[in-house]
Symmetry: C2
């Protein structure tokens, strides 16, 4: 899409304004993602100078959070390429994240103040979500409420704020689009959690079935645990945060299927996706429906 | 000072608004510093609800930058207490820094937009300054211009923006107060660099003479290097980034004195301090003079 290229160009111009050659080099090394948030903003608000700038700011914030996430999770790869912390070191990823964050916030201060507030506030939620994620990864978490609160903050809050801000830019109903974004974000994270189990490493661009080893009890594991008998519950808890051999991986996958945990996780994600569409049924929403559908049906 | 207590109370209220119990626990563990930036803002703008809020935001930004700095520098202590990265781990310091940063930016969006812009832009400079500092610590830097540009960005830019924003709040001359803050910030950092050499660990609350071992060629080392003959220049470069024994420490201190590098660093810092005062000579500036003086004459 030509408009996504405009967003990338705007990001580059913002980084040029920082007048730091190292930052510009590092920007070139960042792997570009799917730009879901930009697609969403541009579908809701249309393509204008203002919406392109908003997208650039949101993508810079998203990139910063991933730079810091990769240090926190000690991740070596991001979207199939080496992460900045792996290419250089943790400090480079932390500092470049801080530079992109603060430049994005600086640009936000030149936008309407409700948008500046919504996006910044989402970054606070996102940062708290990261903290909750790490906290929930210490011991086996079997609480669905804690999981849902964490993924709302960590993943959904910025998508919610993006949709709300796009509605504000274009004079549409902000509450309705915020709720669309919120549900879409939750569905998006659940799909991510499912793909970690169903896809291979080559497709994911990172090791497969990594979440559970890293201590993340995602929705399929949560549902599976709920449905196992007490001895199998203990067995699953025993495998938590351990490197798994072939037999153990097979046991997990077999039980994901026999308990229908995987299938029902998919149904739950679709339910959030459908709710997202439901709230904007009175809007001109064909393309927003398509965004939701392509997100649910994606393979990475 | 009662008004500094009000600033601390405001910071606490902002963190309570985040509604994350872990953040509140971590806030209690942060050692409070001298709050130079708050003192400056309150002297310029007076004590009002607005100025107290501005101080809280600036202190939260400063605290965030220190949280990330301590990870980047692998520092175990901060103001005589264990740093958050030492008490817990790097990830906690990164995440808590991100939370405080983003909450501060969120509150900035509720303030006048010129202030929001100035402060956010200073954080970009500050983050670039951190990157330059790390970069200049890779090899022996003998460029005064690079050193000055780095300390301006890393230390002075936020002090400059604080003074400028305080002037904006109170309808004073922004350019004049910005220049005061800029020169004060440069003087402040030079004094810090000098104290690293002249003070003992107990006074500093961190190991003494650490800068040079960490690869930081600060102003006294720069002036000394310029004044040594070629063989002694080589000797100094040979000691760079190494743990130093008693004889080597003594050699450095002796040459700091015989070349007058230490004395002239002090004179240079005072020159920036005096320039700071000079630009505000037409303002009611007695207390701002005192801030500058107490900063130059401090021992830690």
């Amino acid at each position: 899409m030509i408009e996504l290229e405009q967003v990338k160009e705007q990001i580059k111009n913002y980084v040029i304004e920082i007048a730091d050659s190292r930052s510009l080099e590092l920007l070139d090394l960042l792997a570009t993602g799917k730009m879901l948030r930009s697609k969403l903003v541009l579908k809701i608000a249309g393509v204008t100078d203002e919406s392109i700038k908003l997208c650039a700011v949101i993508e810079m914030i998203h990139a910063s959070s991933l730079l810091h996430d990769d240090v926190i999770d000690e991740a070596d790869t991001r979207r199939g390429s080496p992460s900045i912390n792996a290419l250089f070191d943790n400090k480079t990823a932390i500092m470049f994240g801080d530079i992109l964050y603060s430049k994005a916030f600086t640009q936000l201060t030149t936008m309407p103040s409700d948008i500046a507030y919504n996006i910044s506030n989402a970054v606070t939620l996102l940062s708290v979500g990261e903290m909750l994620d790490v906290d929930l990864s210490k011991d086996f978490n079997n609480s669905y409420d804690k999981y849902l609160d964490m993924i709302y903050k960590k993943t959904s809050s910025l998508i919610e704020a993006s949709a709300k801000s796009a509605a504000s830019l274009s004079g549409k109903n902000q509450d309705v689009f915020a709720l669309y974004g919120k549900n879409l974000g939750i569905a998006f994270q659940m799909i991510d959690d499912i793909l970690d189990i169903t896809q291979d490493s080559a497709t994911l661009g990172k090791p497969a079935m990594l979440d559970f080893v890293e201590g993340k009890v995602t929705i399929p594991y949560l549902l599976m645990w709920e449905r196992l008998d007490s001895s199998d519950k203990l067995k699953l808890e025993g495998l938590y945060k351990k490197p798994l051999d072939e037999d153990e991986l097979k046991w997990i996958k077999d039980n994901m299927n026999s308990t229908k945990a995987l299938q029902d996780s998919m149904i739950l994600a679709s339910k959030f996706g459908t709710e997202a569409i439901e709230v904007i049924k009175d809007e001109d929403n064909e393309e927003l429906k398509n965004i939701m559908k392509s997100m649910i049906e994606r393979s990475f």
